[in-house]
């Protein structure tokens, strides 16, 4: 059961929210925990067994670490437990994330059981308990670690930031309304834009290599990028929306800024929660241990790219992105605001170029024709077909998933928008239902 399935929208969500609303606030975390287990079980009973074992190990370790803070004689045991649990979570992450990286189709790579998100949640829990935060009871830990709206690509929640809201989440019409709109928006973005672009990409990828002319290859990379970004954005908004409906305020998962010239900021804005998680649990420890900010940034960038594409392609893309970002940071670090025009031009060009190179590297077998053949080779059937099949979803992706429409709305007076939201909501729901039925 996924967030964009018929079963979820028409059966699970209304029943769950009805029971949730009737449940007293202090007990809601148990209901969330039960729903999490049901979602994991629907993917397969073995997944439930694996999760249960991991949960038990982390819960026990967290308790031992918290209880041993005042006992120096147990520090060694705590370190062993902490290290072994971290290795276990790393293994879980690699095991589940590998399924994503091995598949080049963006949608099937994203739609996994969520094991990688669970691993990051457990890492966050253990690290925060190690740093002195109170450990959670089993209900809260279950509710937090496998929180079903986010077990896709996120938003990845940090334990210390979210544990309080799991204690007694309160539902209000305001949060429900906002959550519904976020969910419906994400669903429409995912189904109408990302799925369509993904289908076009799949058709292109099924062609023999000799049919993929240079111009078609470049266009296909753009299509892949559009499908990927819209898919990520759609799933994140669906997760945020569902969480909001349950009274759990989750930060904006995607940051869209049209004129953002910083590569670090651009990459970080793709998945804000993941960026925060990387900053807290990868970059901060590296800086604390080594004092090297650039090393921390590079490691964080590498991890982020591996998250989206686990495998040697992700590593290559991560290394390239890290190199460009380090150069950008070095080049602009000593400059005072406003930056010289040359600096701004360089960063924007570098960011745009790296985007294309990263995409091509990640999709090496499919991207190579883009480098080998001339851009003049435009007038061919494959290119024309791809263009006709994808121009409108790509344009929509640019305005919606890209930064054009959000930027414009931020700068305009958008109070009138609230009046047409219910109409847009119904239209989007009907369209999305049609897509869910027939895809």
């Amino acid at each position: 059961m996924t967030l964009y399935s018929l079963i979820y929208l028409f059966f699970f969500l209304p029943v769950f929210m009805g029971v949730y609303r009737l449940t007293p606030a202090k007990h809601r975390r148990w209901l969330i925990a039960a729903a999490n287990l049901a979602v994991i079980a629907s993917q397969g009973i073995w997944g439930l067994a694996v999760y249960g074992a991991d949960l038990a190990a982390v819960y026990v370790s967290g308790r031992v670490i918290a209880d041993s803070r005042a006992r120096p004689d147990r520090i060694k045991l705590c370190r062993i437990l902490f290290a072994s649990d971290m290795v276990l979570q790393a293994a879980m992450f690699v095991f589940f994330a590998k399924g994503r990286g091995a598949d080049l189709a963006p949608l099937s790579g994203i739609a996994v059981a969520g094991g990688a998100v669970i691993a990051l949640h457990f890492v966050s829990y253990l690290a925060d308990v190690w740093r002195g935060h109170e450990p959670a009871d089993i209900g809260t830990l279950t509710a937090y670690s496998a929180f079903f709206p986010v077990t896709g690509v996120g938003p990845v929640l940090r334990y210390r930031r979210t544990v309080k809201i799991f204690a007694a989440p309160k539902v209000s019409f305001r949060k429900l309304g906002r959550g519904i709109w976020l969910y419906v928006f994400g669903l429409a973005e995912f189904l109408l834009i990302s799925c369509r672009l993904s289908d076009v990409w799949q058709e292109y990828a099924s062609l023999p290599v000799k049919s993929r002319g240079g111009a078609a290859a470049w266009l296909s990379l753009l299509i892949w990028y559009g499908a990927f970004m819209s898919g990520i954005s759609g799933l994140l908004y669906m997760g945020q929306g569902t969480a909001m409906m349950m009274g759990l305020r989750v930060r904006q998962p995607v940051r869209r800024r049209l004129f953002d010239s910083s590569l670090r900021s651009r990459l970080g804005g793709v998945c804000v929660h993941l960026t925060m998680w990387i900053r807290d649990y990868i970059c901060s420890p590296i800086i604390r241990l080594t004092g090297r900010k650039l090393l921390a940034s590079a490691a964080g960038t590498m991890f982020a790219l591996l998250w989206f594409s686990f495998g040697w392609e992700g590593m290559a893309a991560g290394a390239a992105a890290a190199a460009v970002m380090v150069l950008q940071l070095k080049f602009t670090s000593g400059l005072k605001e406003p930056r010289p025009i040359t600096g701004a031009v360089f960063t924007k060009l570098a960011a745009a170029s790296v985007g294309g190179v990263l995409a091509a590297l990640s999709l090496l077998p499919y991207g190579m024709p883009a480098f080998g053949l001339s851009l003049a080779d435009i007038d061919n059937e494959v290119f024309n077909y791809l263009l006709e099949a994808s121009w409108l979803p790509l344009l929509t992706a640019l305005f919606v998933t890209g930064s054009v429409l959000p930027t414009a709305l931020r700068r305009m007076n958008t109070r009138w928008l609230i009046f047409i939201l219910p109409v847009l909501e119904v239209i989007a729901l009907v369209l999305c239902s049609a897509y869910m039925l027939n895809r």
Partner: protein, 365 residues
């Protein structure tokens, strides 16, 4: 005001979801319950819910319209050729093993009556004739090449009747239905014109036929499958030869029941959902025995798919009896030789469209 909008948003959302869920359950209780007991219950439940969803056919049309706007042209394996104003059932990845098994079945049947002149006509579907209209990304099969290879594989004593070239020449005519996956009488006539002389008959040109336009417009199976409605609807026509013989009797067996008629055309077929039933009264008949007034003419055993139904009217002037058998629709455990004795006939013609030929269960029939 904001609060009111929020309340409306919440009510609309949960109302829509709840009504959709309740109506799905009410509309498909049996299927949903059965799916819950199956091995892959989640996927089966999803499938059952999709089929039981209220107004699912209208949702399909809405999906097709919206997806069309977003540049989609292929819907569930059906390609919308906007230039040609037709829907094409795209065939790719033909099961060659099954096709060669059918070739072997033809050879075995021929060996039962080796002196009986045997012919085979493999008819390309619209996907083969209009392959150049289909984007490369759909990977449509080269049906001309496949038909040639299958003809080589069939027993050399069975005469192949090549109709691909003849159909291709008249591809701009109305030879395939625009919203259905079968050929029209015009397409059948083109195949008849290309093959009748090899069968030993003399061609009756199209001027020798009265064409009846039934004025019944319909949208066929491809429109139902894809949800596309922006294609002109199809019409059913009847071709009757002015000369030669007339039909004395037409006994059609369908679902174990035999219907006795005096025409190969059935008006009641126009009231059915599948308008192709106009030809011989049923599109999934198991046998049809047509007796004509031309008593001196030979008898034909015609074994084939539903493409043969549309072809029969053009054979009437040339045969005293035509026995049409569709092996795929025979009752379980029945073979062709359980129904007829090949020695009672003067010719046997195997007529099948390529797609059905690769999916047929002729082996053992």
């Amino acid at each position: 005001m904001r609060r009111l909008i929020e309340v409306i948003t919440v009510v609309l959302f949960f109302g829509f979801a709840a009504v959709g869920g309740v109506m799905t359950v009410l509309g498909g209780r049996g299927e949903l319950a059965a799916s819950a007991e199956s091995d892959e219950s989640a996927a089966a439940f999803q499938q059952a819910a999709s089929e039981s969803f209220p107004m699912s056919d209208k949702m399909l049309v809405l999906y097709a319209r919206c997806a069309h706007l977003f540049g989609q042209r292929s819907f569930g394996g059906v390609y919308h050729d906007a230039d040609g104003e037709r829907l094409i059932d795209v065939h790719s990845g033909l099961d060659t093993d099954a096709a060669y098994a059918s070739c072997e079945a033809i050879g075995r049947f021929h060996r039962l009556a080796p002196t009986l002149p045997a012919y085979v006509m493999l008819v390309p579907t619209a996907s083969g004739i209009y392959r150049e209209h289909l984007p490369d990304t759909l990977g449509a099969d080269d049906q001309q090449k496949i038909i040639d290879e299958l003809y080589y594989a069939i027993d050399p004593d069975v005469t192949p009747l090549d109709v691909f070239g003849s159909l291709y020449k008249v591809r701009d005519n109305y030879i395939y239905y625009r919203t259905d996956d079968r050929w029209t009488p015009q397409g059948a006539y083109a195949a008849y014109a290309a093959s009748i002389q090899k069968l030993g008959g003399t061609l009756y040109s199209v001027q020798n036929y009265d064409v009846e336009y039934t004025h019944v417009e319909f949208l066929g199976s491809l429109a139902d499958r894809s949800g596309v409605r922006s294609v002109p609807s199809d019409r059913i026509n009847a071709y009757r030869c002015k000369f030669g013989s007339y039909v004395k009797s037409c006994d059609v067996t369908h679902d174990g029941v035999t219907d006795n008629r005096t025409s190969v055309y059935s008006r009641s077929g126009l009231t059915k959902a599948d308008k192709y039933s106009f030809f011989l009264g049923a599109s999934d008949l198991s046998t049809a025995k047509i007796v004509t007034t031309a008593e001196s003419m030979p008898k034909l055993l015609l074994i084939g798919s539903d493409y043969a139904h549309c072809f029969v009217p053009f054979l009437l002037p040339h045969y005293s009896e035509i026995m049409l058998i569709d092996p795929d629709d025979l009752p379980e455990g029945k073979n062709v030789t359980d129904i007829i004795d090949p020695k009672d006939y003067d010719q046997v013609l195997f007529l099948c469209d390529l797609e059905s030929f690769s999916k047929s269960k002729w082996e053992g029939k």
